[in-house]
Symmetry: C2
Subunit: 499 residues, 2 copies
Amino acid sequence: MSAAGTPVFLDAASGEPMDPVAREAYLAALEDGWADPDRLYREGRRARMLLDAAREAVAEVLRARPDETVFTTSGTAALHLAVAGLAQGRSRVSRRIVTSAVEHSAVLHAAEYTAARLGGEHVAVAVTRLGRLRVEEFAQALRGGAALACVQHANHEVGTVQPVEQAWEACLDAAGQPGGPVALLVDAAAALGRIPPPEHWSALCASARKWGGPAGVGVLAVRKGTRFAAAWPQDEREQGRAPGPVNVPAVLAAAAALRAREAERETVAARQRALVERIRAEVGRTVPDVEIVGDPERRLPHIVTFSCLYAAGEALLLELDRAGFSVSSGSSCTASTLTPSHVLEAMGVISHGNVRVSLPWRITDEEVDRFLAALPTTVARVRAEAPGGVREAGGQPSNGTGAAESRSGAGVPEAVGSGGAEPETVDALGRMCPIPVIELARRIARVPLGATIRVLADDPAARLDIPAWSELRRHSYLGETPVPERGESAVAYLVRREH
Amino acid sequence: MSAAGTPVFLDAASGEPMDPVAREAYLAALEDGWADPDRLYREGRRARMLLDAAREAVAEVLRARPDETVFTTSGTAALHLAVAGLAQGRSRVSRRIVTSAVEHSAVLHAAEYTAARLGGEHVAVAVTRLGRLRVEEFAQALRGGAALACVQHANHEVGTVQPVEQAWEACLDAAGQPGGPVALLVDAAAALGRIPPPEHWSALCASARKWGGPAGVGVLAVRKGTRFAAAWPQDEREQGRAPGPVNVPAVLAAAAALRAREAERETVAARQRALVERIRAEVGRTVPDVEIVGDPERRLPHIVTFSCLYAAGEALLLELDRAGFSVSSGSSCTASTLTPSHVLEAMGVISHGNVRVSLPWRITDEEVDRFLAALPTTVARVRAEAPGGVREAGGQPSNGTGAAESRSGAGVPEAVGSGGAEPETVDALGRMCPIPVIELARRIARVPLGATIRVLADDPAARLDIPAWSELRRHSYLGETPVPERGESAVAYLVRREH
């Protein structure tokens, strides 16, 4: 734990503690709203009345009508039901589902599943290196016909706000297609309560947990006139769009938290925007070899994500935890998953050493100060230690590999003469990220300008990190070739030294 | 409200107020278990630890292994995921889904939906007049091949305990079929915490709300070795069987409530079994023309259901509410739905005037006494008033129609001579239940023994109630014929006077 005080929670985007306002509302509703709102007796009627009021409050924030707004059992459930129901509703028009490549995994899972089920296809549209939807490619994809398009309001991992209005225009422009305008599903989970809700959508989803409400409440709003067909067993509840009983106490708590958040939204956002600005500047200044990812301007006020080159993400996360700071990571090196974050992958940025900081509602300046003070030494410590992923002895990075680098250059020692025509080979087979990149960074400085380095690696993360590092360091990434004689997943990556 | 005191809640089977033990656990978990259990930082690890403990506690009660047990967002979600996942997992063997006809609507919806999706069929097996599965017919249905069979542990509307062990044997006996034994899904939602859990099943579902836990928690246990294939978008959580984040505080509350209930189960069950015994006896003694439905012996300790002939269910429910008693009704006359309870329909019992009493965990003798004291006058009042469903003037039942009847006879005045060959016709077209039955009961007494009455009705509930009344009153139901010249849904029902 941080010597300077109590632990600091910096992963609000995963879900923050329930807001006290929500807690109070929940406890009150356990007294008055526990019954089944479909029942005719007094307890049921009271629950129905409270549920109606909660629905109106949430709909008002979404700028939706109460009868367009249903409650689901989670944000994930809302997204699954929305994707499946909208695609099914327009399946006679098209069986293609177009999404950005950086949607929440719940959208991508639902799009893949639904497209496969309907015998259609899921098209994931590329984003820029800042994580922003490429609107022209999106519009182009819609011109091929689509039942449904999905664009998040803002990205949950890097904070980039998406051009939802332009996406909406592109959906309208598709009106020339058979079936008219494409339905647009906006996933507002990361954004609601942080920035004003989007104006135009066919359907909108959100998750109470992200706005300080309880777990177990999602929202699905579907504009009147939008075709929607149940694609999962349903009942008569929530307009046949969300099966099972409504959790009335949790919905009341969710509504209370959302109202509280909306009332304070602008004040809190301004303060957090400035704090994130400071984190972006300080991290860039105090941590060497760091890539700050996501749009610096068009972003959520509370999320900042950066990648510490040559550091293993899981080690960094655990070291920060030990120092008293809870952050998230999209790194491929985390224990729970060996796949790197699909968001970082789609952006083409470094996927190792990744840290996402997302500020909870009640964060203080002092807590951010403590984090900024602890970060540089924590990163240096992780870099100095052997990365957790090394499976063989030898080839450790020199202590402070990264720290010794300058931020502007390639960050490695001067080149030593070596002018052979055969590319110099770095053998990082059997070694996990970030070792291949560390070795590449060390060796590229020793080859002449214009010479090529060949990195042998079998960790799949290398496929992202070597091109991403090359672009970041302004060397030329020349491509990859399989090396079957060195193993089934052995790949040679070629990088040319440019400066 | 009852003059004798505070309102009495008698609809525990719909969900009772959260148990104080669960409330405490929830509040504690809001402090310690609010974080995402998949995160590596301290808050996440703590949530994971608590979740693991809750899973062990629940699995132990179910006599399942923790790694067989996943949490869903409701009992409904558990049933939907179970039916779809089990049927999908064995869809190469068979695409038939066999259920009892009295399963919870969530099972029936999922079975219909899944069978249609897989291009198979849903077979609903008949029950006896006591609501008990006809095991021979069930076994016969399995012999036609089945991916999946669903049998509830006990019925949620009438309390009848099902022969789950015999159903299991029948599933095993189907081993000669290609694909081996049929998977058996047991819906334990109504029974768990009230009677010992069943011993044999392939999958078991339950709902925390029914055992005094919070809303928003279902349980799905699947025995190791049971084929299960996701039939809905999934993620890496809960073994890929229940998508979306686990609501850790609610799960902890659910586990606490279940442990508390199990610890007291036998004591409470014995007490409630005696109370229900008393209700059955007293209602039969003090309310004329009442049919008590469900198995009198093999039943849940806390549920008793009866139908008050010649009374409209909704009016009865509202009148009881006014008197301070909250009960449920499977009657076709309730406002929220015009379809009669599929359970009462499958049992072939009267579907109007239905009252389900289900005792909450902490019911007192005094509360039951008050209910029993108030019931006879309440029923008499409802019978005396015009039923709410009458759409035309005239033909009101005489005051106290029912109350004037003897329990043993047909309950109507002496027959008056009328010996024509043409059946006497009761025209109840345009009139809602229970009017057609009231008119039938009044008129049958005026025709000679062996003569036939023809009841014209267009309320769909008549299709259930006229045969059910005839059987109850030991007259002969001779069948129905459409009467298109009197309207699209006009039907003539023929009943012969037998005594």
